[in-house]
């Protein structure tokens, strides 16, 4: 009987032949914490009476959630991270470097076949390059920092077969929103998701990250993809680390399999206040929006900025609407600068802010006011998510956000692209 990607990686990293349902202690290849979770992990680390992390080269901490610090209390927590990083000699990314989930693959810390934990729920992002990566809390992070290992329940796998070709103006964000709407917010709870098929193969690695990033929004532990030629080439450019490409056996056993044809998919929008409250754009077009956000670990990559800039170029956003753009990393911001994209955004009327989480999580950089509607490229639209529980957050692709801020209402981007 064959194995899934999850079973294979956890078998190799635990040195045992394991199947879904088994509980294992497995070696970690990389450990990441961000500024919302690391301070508690550092506290747990010292409460556990540890003095040294197991391997500083395999640990990174990132200040991205409140970067630069908007408050005295936050500054204090940031300082604790800087001190810890300095003492331990770990990899450290400070304000302006970018969102943790962009930095981990971009800076070459994670490669195919790796087992990775991050104290952030969207750690599942790196599944797009064949990494078993999953979010944990601060105490698990501290345990990982000390032991270099963590216990895992080997998950069952939910396989999504995605056939066909995405139509023009429809992006990987639309695809993953559609899937979440279909299986709902707990459709893959406790499971690994595996995304396969020609629609996935046709995507760039950037487009694939968007899909794996949102695996957690269907409850999944990780959002895995096979490594193909594109993966190998992308990883080669970003990392020197040895890879262990791990593709599933043809006779692997899946807990669930669902097959889709994406050829007629419309742009999709998640409506307030849950990510699985998804509708095709035709049903929500015309809803007024006061703020747009382009960025985050879901859709702040160069391809996303290009897609938005194509629509915004030479145009002005609606006078009653604001637009915030936060590139996902310093490298992406530099690239966007070189390509003239930032110029396009600023001329269109956008506020371009520091690479980082920005307004995604309500800490700063664009908290909406009461009753306002926001259209964002982020991955969550929970009530209060952006810092105001009387605001309404819609989620869509960068193209959908760009088209919507031009008109001041939710707008099908194909009006500008086709």
């Amino acid at each position: 009987m064959g194995k899934t990607i999850a079973e294979k990686i956890l078998s190799r990293k635990s040195g045992q032949d394991v199947r879904s349902g088994d509980i294992v202690i497995a070696d970690l290849d990389f450990i990441m914490g961000q500024d919302g979770t690391s301070p508690l992990a550092i506290k747990a680390f010292s409460e556990m009476q540890a003095t040294k992390v197991f391997d500083p080269s395999r640990v990174a901490m990132v200040i991205d959630h409140s970067a630069p610090s908007p408050l005295e209390g936050v500054s204090e927590l940031h300082q604790q991270m800087r001190v810890f990083a300095g003492e331990q000699g770990i990899n450290f990314y400070d304000i302006g470097d970018g969102v943790c989930h962009q930095l981990m693959p971009e800076q070459g810390h994670v490669v195919p076949g790796d087992l990775v934990i991050g104290a952030d729920s969207h750690t599942c992002t790196y599944g797009a390059i064949n990494v078993f990566s999953t979010g944990v809390g601060s105490t698990d992070l501290a345990a990982g920092l000390i032991a270099g290992k963590l216990w895992f329940k080997v998950p069952e796998t939910f396989k999504f077969i995605l056939n066909g070709t995405l139509p023009a103006g429809v992006f990987s964000k639309d695809l993953i929103l559609y899937l979440i709407g279909d299986v709902t917010a707990d459709g893959a709870t406790y499971m690994a998701a595996e995304y396969v098929g020609e629609a996935i193969e046709a995507l760039s690695i950037e487009g694939r990250f968007t899909i794996s990033n949102m695996a957690i929004e269907m409850g999944a532990k990780c959002g895995l993809m096979q490594a193909d030629q594109k993966t190998v080439e992308w990883v080669k450019v970003h990392s020197q680390k040895e890879t262990h490409i791990t593709n599933p056996d043809p006779d692997a056993v899946y807990a669930k399999v669902k097959e889709y044809d994406v050829s007629n998919l419309e742009p999709q929008v998640a409506r307030p206040h849950t990510v699985d409250n998804v509708a095709p754009i035709s049903q929500v077009a015309g809803t007024p929006v006061q703020q747009g956000v382009i960025g985050t670990c879901t859709n702040g990559r160069i391809e996303d900025l290009r897609n938005a800039a194509r629509i915004l170029k030479g145009r002005k956003i609606n006078k009653d609407t604001r637009l915030i753009v936060a590139p996902a990393s310093r490298q992406i911001m530099l690239q966007a600068m070189r390509e003239g994209l930032l110029q396009i955004f600023v001329e269109a009327g956008a506020a371009v802010v520091t690479p980082g989480c920005g307004p995604c999580v309500g800490t700063h950089n664009g908290v909406p006011s009461d009753g306002e509607n926001v259209i964002s490229t982020a991955n969550r639209n929970f009530k209060g998510r952006m810092g105001n529980n009387r605001a309404f957050v819609y989620l869509g692709s960068p193209a959908t956000v760009a088209a919507s801020v031009l008109q001041g209402k939710i707008t099908d981007p194909r009006e500008y692209l086709l």
Partner: protein, 166 residues
Amino acid sequence: MDLKGKVHKFGDDVNTDYIISGRHKFKTLDMKELAKYVMEDLDPDFYSKVEKGDFIVGGRNFGCGSSREQAPLAIINADISAVIAKSFARIFYRNCINTGLPVIECDTDQIDEGDELEINLGAGVLHNRTKNIDIKIAPLPGVMLKILSEGGLVEHFKKHGTFNFD
């Protein structure tokens, strides 16, 4: 472990932003302070209603969303003794065990706001005193039971220096 208290009932998909909002959690590591804002977006008076030992009861997918451990810690510091739901999101579930907050999976349709419950974790029994019924609860895997019984993962590491499930 015997637990006793009354029920504060919520619905499906209670996410960690509702448990403790991002706008509070980044500000401080003072969990007593954060506890004041537990469930604030769903019920602004929640904190003032809780008596020591009470239970939070949810529906499906309780604790979905972010990995913030402030969520179980704030619940513990609000003097809630356990969270009971039909199902839990994975990271939250793990975080509860690691921080020493009992999580109980069972059918919560027979539990209503204000009901008085008695729970014997070791025996795996939940008794609804108000309705005078027993509700079956799903057993915890051995690894989790061990961490929980030692008072959480910090205590486990203090005692063993690493993972030790033998």
